[in-house]
């Protein structure tokens, strides 16, 4: 039972080592010229401390929603790709159908100008 989880442990350790190494290297080797704007927690234009009732740029939400939609598609695609040999052609067809639905939605948002920032 327990040895089954050994791979998970190894995976975890490798992840920690690689992630930690990259962060440390960046910290040690990168140039450091801090200023007031850079040291804020968010760099996307929001003030960190102010009244919660403020005006939002509504376009962020469009971008965020579209991102979520197509990001979730990846979550479906990974397990599908791993299991493709077992689910065979019916599985392949089902995923192509799913992608077709997504592509039509993508064309729609494109045609409606949902991807244009200005």
């Amino acid at each position: 039972m327990l040895p089954n989880y050994l791979t998970v442990l190894v995976y975890l350790l490798v992840g920690i080592v690689i992630g930690g190494a990259l962060l440390t290297l960046g910290f040690l080797l990168g140039p450091k010229q801090p200023d007031a704007t850079k040291s804020q927690p968010y760099e996307c234009g929001f003030e960190a401390f102010q009244d919660a009732r403020m005006k939002f740029e509504v376009r962020y939400y469009l971008v965020a929603i579209l991102f979520i939609l197509f990001d979730l598609e990846m979550t479906f695609l990974f397990p599908w790709a791993v299991a493709l040999r077992r689910i065979g052609w019916p599985g392949f067809g089902a995923m192509m159908l799913f992608l077709l639905v997504l592509v039509v939605g993508f064309l729609y948002e494109w045609g409606k100008g949902g991807l244009e920032w200005e």
Binding site: V104, G105, L107, Y108, W110, G111, K112
Partner: protein, 479 residues
């Protein structure tokens, strides 16, 4: 090889959605005149193909499909066909009007199709999660449809109200379903009832789950005391959308009651029967008394809807097969009658705009004799005047109530029907006896006129041969 015949109507409707959205995506590259024909034609074609598929389901294609997700039985066959036919009729009535408001674009057709898809999924669901999936598909499409004219403030208000209350009701339903799942360990509606029988009577948690489910279903059906959204949504939404909200979701609601309450929770009938009687009596009271005070025609029909839902729920509340058949019969008849009333609202124009107040109908008897006759049919049928089909529906529910031993409730229902007759007959009086200070004209409504006339005549003809539809309903409910 997997068979797709059980989901053939769903496939056609979904293909229609994809095609319409695809057309809309290419709007800037395609000629406008082509889109103006192609989008409604595609939507109508998809629904017609779905209807044909549903009609061609036969005894051999019945059963439970896809690991117990979908069930094709007589009820599915009757109601999927009814839903597709209803959506077709609604599109026929509403296309011209939506065009005039500048809303007849692909989004409208795509949303009507997804809502219909939701209704079809609910009707054929054999599994709690599939049922919930269909319900959400329907509800989300409805929220968007109601606010499709987003510049209009009443429409936005109605959509917000419906959205918040609807989201709470969905949560309540989901909580009830999760309790049922926790109790029985199964999502299958058929196995759920078996497990509940095995648990025996008096299980407190099962009772709590039944309350949650019942409250959510009553909300979705618009029954008192969960009716607050109905008048606002009916009045606030554009009339073609009101036509949709008033008809197809009712088919879905009765399907929810039949599938979930009368089948899945049938062992708990003692528990929910009394509650349902209470809800139904309250709906009759609120609907019929509330309608007396209305001057706006759409609000009048909203309160009338609450009253009719009361009648339908009385049929379910008897807990007998006969009552269930009566409720199903009443729902189909109600959808037919409402379609006529709203179709006429869409067809007529007073002072160059839509008819809103009941007084706008004054003088209709002289200026438009045929349409006023159809409106008379609809009002008499809603009021339950023989020989119109609405009378037979009320009679069926009352007889089921008496057979199940609820004479006091039956007497109350008759009293409320008498109260209801007053405001339906007032519409008739305004049409035929009030003097008009303005001419009533027909809107530009050429193609659907024939369908509307047939729909109106059906109220009369089905009233002369009530057994035809009744026979279908008996066939659909038999177990």
């Amino acid at each position: 090889m997997m068979s797709f015949s059980a989901v053939a109507p769903e496939i056609w409707i979904a293909a229609g959605v994809l095609a319409v959205v695809g057309f809309e995506a290419l709007r800037s590259r395609l000629p406008g005149n082509f889109l103006k024909t192609a989008i409604p034609a595609t939507a109508l074609l998809a629904l017609a193909l779905a209807l044909i598929e549903a009609l061609f389901w036969n005894g051999a294609s019945q059963g439970v499909f896809y690991d117990g997700s979908l069930v094709i039985d007589a009820f599915s066959r009757l109601f999927v066909a009814a839903a597709c036919l209803g959506a077709l009729i609604i599109l026929f009535y509403s296309v011209t009007d939506m065009e005039r408001h500048g809303l007849g674009r692909g989004e409208y057709h795509a949303l009507v199709l997804t809502a219909t898809l939701g209704v079809v999924v609910i009707i054929t669901a054999a599994n709690l999660l599939v049922l919930y999936l269909g319900l959400e598909l329907l509800s989300l499409s409805l929220y968007t449809l109601i606010s499709i004219d987003r510049e209009r403030i009443p429409a936005a208000e109605a959509a917000m109200k419906y959205f918040f209350l609807g989201a709470i009701a969905s949560g309540v339903l989901l909580y009830g379903l999760s309790l049922l799942y926790g109790l029985s360990g199964t999502l299958s509606i058929a196995r759920l009832s078996v497990d509940l029988v095995a648990m025996g009577p008096g299980a407190l948690l099962a009772w709590v789950a039944a309350v949650f489910v019942l409250v959510a279903l009553a909300f979705k059906f618009g029954a008192a005391p969960f009716h607050m959204w109905v008048p606002d949504v009916y009045e606030g939404a554009p009339t073609p959308i009101t036509l949709f909200v008033a008809t197809l979701p009712e088919l879905a609601s009765i399907a929810l009651f039949v599938r979930l309450l009368s089948s899945g929770l049938s062992p708990l009938v003692r528990d929910w029967s009394g509650m349902l009687i209470g809800i139904a009596v309250l709906s009759l009271l609120v609907g019929n008394l509330g309608a007396l005070l209305q001057t706006n025609f759409k609000r009048l029909l909203a309160y009338s809807a609450i009253g009719h839902v009361g009648f339908i729920l009385l049929g379910i509340a008897t807990g007998t097969i006969r009552g269930e058949v009566a409720a199903v019969y009443y729902t189909l008849v109600y959808v037919l009658m409402t379609a006529v009333a709203f179709g006429l609202l869409l067809a007529l124009r007073a002072r160059g705009r839509e008819i809103e107040a009941i007084d706008d109908l004054a003088g209709l008897g002289q200026s438009q004799p045929w349409w006023s006759l159809l409106m008379l049919f609809a009002m008499f049928s809603l009021a339950g005047v023989p020989p119109f089909v609405g009378f037979w529906a009320k009679l069926a529910v009352l007889r089921a109530l008496l057979a199940a031993g609820f004479p006091v409730v039956a007497v109350f229902a008759v009293l409320m029907a008498v109260v209801g007759a007053f405001y339906y007959l007032r519409v008739v009086k305004v049409m035929y006896f009030d003097r008009a200070d303005h001419p009533l004209v027909r809107g530009n409504f050429s193609l659907p006129e024939l369908v509307l006339s047939l729909n109106g005549l059906a109220l009369f003809i089905l009233g002369l041969v009530p057994n035809s539809l009744w026979g279908l309903c008996t066939w659909a409910i038999r177990r």
